[in-house]
């Protein structure tokens, strides 16, 4: 059998002289799914773009890139146009950004034919969409992309990518904008086209579950490749091990659920816009010291509102929120956010952000060298002992910023740490680290309340999960609390 796509010593050079990708060789057999996995900055997206000829024309691609036996490494724009759509389909990361916001979804799909000068009919498109699991496709496809859910819209993009049944599909992080449970079914839709798939992802768990073969990218080179089982059991390269470590569990711990709660939320509802939009209808929650509680649910179910109520920066419209006295002093509840870079003051050196909770008026006044020592300890605890405390947030990676934010959230030993999607901007090794650091904080006595849509992360970290749907909380067994 002959490979549909073959890279030999692929090297990509930017006009400025940087080489984000070099010495990459792999072959893609018909119908198989080959995954490229790596941390941020490994060169994944650069390769994905180059495979479809989408790099900027100043960027130089050398080595050989055989698509159905034809070398496209130095192909011109015109040659690429003949290949795209017919030979190669492309699915991008964010389904909303992939659609022209001014046109209905059916136009988005129909463009796959029309831009090739071919014609299609609306029933044909409706049939394709239904085939990928879009309900009521005929009516829904007249709506605009912003009214669709991410999972459904990504299916429409997949239908469009497979419109002309190309033998190759390039999928660049096709599920990273989706909730975890939707990701699996979208990947299934992708595989159902029967084409060979190059799957680009940062999520090694997802890749090991779905790909036939996996290549690990690190620093722009392919450091290791093999079947999922081979990689899982016999990984050689340290980068592969680092990525796999993110799948590891945390040590077992005794959860202290029988302690008296420090925070109780009972029958609470909350709404926005002067009562017009109900965010929460009935929420119940009890948190004790040392507890790690996860909150999980689809987007828009009221998770974030619940967190803001727990933090006390929003008030409930009805119901009771009871806090133990220890939570009522300022600084007793400290937050961790989704956006690590925005969590730090952009124009401050990181030590100033870290030390800030210690400088609040009712804290003990510490002498300067004491503060400095505390900052150094806090940074060491999150594994950033090597980082210069004078550096600005923009000089750090996103994962490092989140660790700085965790150092700030733990420096004054708060009674409750509230984390809102703390890992959604991070790659899996960083996410693993965040779960370990939150666990450490709980072991030192803080209660941790964490909202996340990442079930791997929650499974590893929390003592119990509170599910949410449409403004209501549910106990793990599905009973309304």
């Amino acid at each position: 059998m002959e490979a549909v796509l073959q890279c030999q010593d692929l090297k990509i050079t930017y006009p400025g002289g940087g080489t984000p990708v070099q010495g990459v060789s792999f072959a893609l057999m018909p119908g198989e799914c080959f995954a490229l996995v790596g941390g941020s900055g490994a060169g994944k997206s650069t390769i994905a773009k180059a495979l479809a000829g989408l790099h900027r024309h100043e960027t130089e691609v050398s080595g050989s890139l055989l698509i159905n036996g034809r070398d496209m490494a130095r192909a011109q724009a015109g040659d690429w146009r003949a290949v795209r759509g017919q030979q190669i389909g492309f699915v991008a990361q964010n389904p909303w950004e992939s659609c022209d916001p001014l046109r209905p979804v059916r136009d988005h799909v129909a463009e796959a034919w029309r831009c090739q000068g071919l014609s299609t009919t609306w029933p044909e498109i409706a049939a394709r969409l239904s085939g990928h699991g879009v309900a009521e496709a005929g009516a829904r496809m007249r709506q605009h992309p912003h009214t669709w859910s991410g999972g459904m819209l990504q299916r429409a993009s997949i239908a469009a990518a497979g419109a002309l049944t190309p033998p190759i599909l390039i999928a660049d992080e096709p599920t990273s904008a989706l909730d975890a449970d939707r990701a699996q079914s979208v990947l299934a839709a992708l595989r159902s086209l029967g084409a060979a798939v190059v799957l680009i992802s940062h999520d090694i768990g997802l890749v090991l579950r779905n790909a036939d073969r996996v290549g690990v990218l690190h620093g722009g080179t392919l450091v290791e490749q093999g079947t999922p089982t081979a990689l899982r059991d016999r990984a050689v390269h340290p980068e592969t091990r680092r990525l796999l470590a993110a799948l590891g569990t945390l040590p077992e711990r005794d959860s202290a659920t029988n302690a008296t709660p420090i925070l109780r939320i009972e029958g609470v509802s909350a709404s926005y816009d002067k009562g017009r939009v109900a965010a929460l209808t009935c929420a119940n929650l009890a948190v004790s010291s040392g507890d790690i509680i996860g909150v999980q649910g689809p987007s828009g179910c009221g998770k974030s509102t619940l967190l803001r109520l727990a933090m006390g920066i929003e008030r409930p419209t009805s119901g009771v929120i009871w806090r133990a006295d220890m939570l009522n002093r300022p600084g007793a509840i400290l937050p961790v956010f989704q956006d690590p870079v925005g969590s730090l003051v952009p124009h401050w050196p990181i030590w100033r952000s870290v030390v800030e909770p210690l400088t609040a008026p009712r804290q003990h006044r510490l002498p300067r060298d004491q503060k400095r020592k505390k900052v150094a300890e806090a940074l060491a605890r999150v594994g950033l002992a090597e980082i210069d405390p004078e550096s600005r947030p923009s000089e750090l990676s996103i994962g490092q910023c989140q660790r700085v934010a965790l150092a700030r959230a733990t420096i004054s030993e708060p009674a409750l740490i509230v984390a809102d999607e703390p890992t959604s901007a991070l790659d899996s090794p960083s996410a693993w680290l965040v779960s370990r650091l939150l666990r450490d904080a709980a072991d030192r006595g803080a209660a941790v309340l964490v909202v996340s849509h990442d079930s791997t992360f929650l499974d590893r970290l929390v003592d119990r999960v509170v599910g949410m749907e449409a403004g209501r909380t549910f106990a793990p067994d599905g009973m309304a609390t």
Partner: protein, 311 residues
């Protein structure tokens, strides 16, 4: 539809607020209005009894709210009062001059939209090649030359220098052509800059990349996806610029000696002819409100996302 109605209601409120400002010019004006009215009628040696009688006749002794309501009622019937200097109704004088101004501004608007559309499309289609560089040079120079300076230079050196057209113009379409062309050429510079940036942003967006990955030609992406998406912010900017264009009429008409509203305002400013100033400001404010309303409604028609309940 509800969003459109809401926007219309907003526009009506804005117009009402603007009319308050316009009306407030008279009570805020320094000096005694009644005295100015009498002076305007050519009376000498005015006694305080005469002033008091005029105040009473003009309704200036009534409470401010009553004065405002009376004034607004007059406005609805097309009565803006009498000019202090000519004693003619202001409405009549404005109506004589309005067509000339509309002609010039309308034509200038058409020119500048046409220029910026064409130039921005050419620039975006040839990004970082010589047509793009040339157009960017033009936009830089145009943005650095105020319209009146450019108009003055173009008029004196090109039009008069080469004897194309006449400087002293009477308001007709053919006479408006050259001034409108000059204004359009200058205005188009900043609009081209804006539209070009919008087009390039759209060409680098996710949907453009996806279209490219399906084999769509650059031309198709530019015209089918980038242009409609970049057009919306461009339209909003035009709506705002119409305000600047209206505000700039006195300058422009002074340079082209164009007998329109702007020139009328200048006369009124030097002679402190408040009813005329009020009339001009009212027209300017209403056309500004109408222009932004039009732009917003067109944007709502084009962009389904704006049709959802705003705010």
């Amino acid at each position: 539809m509800a969003a459109v109605l809401l926007r219309v209601a907003q526009a009506l409120l804005t117009a009402l607020a603007a009319s308050v400002i316009v009306w407030a010019i008279l009570p805020l004006a320094p000096g005694d209005v009644a005295e100015r009215v009498l002076l305007g009628r050519g009376m000498q040696d005015i006694t305080s009894e005469e002033i008091e009688a005029t105040r009473e006749a003009l309704g200036l002794n009534a409470p401010l709210v009553v004065q405002f309501v009376t004034w607004l009622g007059g406005v609805f019937q097309g009565d803006l009062g009498q000019s202090f200097t000519s004693q003619a109704p202001v409405t009549q004088e404005i109506m004589e001059r309005l067509p000339a101004t509309l002609m010039l501004l309308g034509l200038a608007l058409v020119f500048s939209v046409a220029f910026s559309l064409v130039l921005a499309l050419i620039a975006a289609a040839n990004q970082d090649r010589w047509p793009d560089h040339l157009i960017r040079l033009y936009t830089q120079i145009g943005a650095a030359l105020p319209t009146f300076v450019f108009a003055l230079l173009a008029l004196t050196f090109v039009v008069v220098g080469f004897q194309i057209g006449r400087v002293l113009a009477d308001p007709s379409w053919s006479a408006a052509l050259i001034p409108a062309f000059i204004i359009g050429l200058d205005r188009a510079a900043s609009w081209t800059q804006l539209l070009r940036a919008g087009l390039l942003d759209a060409m680098a967006s996710g949907y453009a990349e996806v279209a490219r990955a399906r084999g769509a030609s650059e031309r198709r992406i530019l015209l089918r996806h980038a242009l409609p998406n970049a057009f919306l912010p461009f339209l909003t900017a035009i709506g705002i610029s119409v305000g600047a264009l209206i505000g700039g009429t006195p300058l422009i008409e002074a340079i082209f000696t164009w007998p329109g509203l702007g020139a009328y305002l200048l006369e009124a400013l030097t002679s402190r002819n408040y009813p005329v100033i009020q009339g001009y400001v009212l027209i300017a404010a209403l056309s500004y409100v109408a222009a932004s309303l039009l732009v917003d409604v067109v944007a709502m028609v084009l962009d389904p996302r704006l049709r959802r309940q705003s705010r």
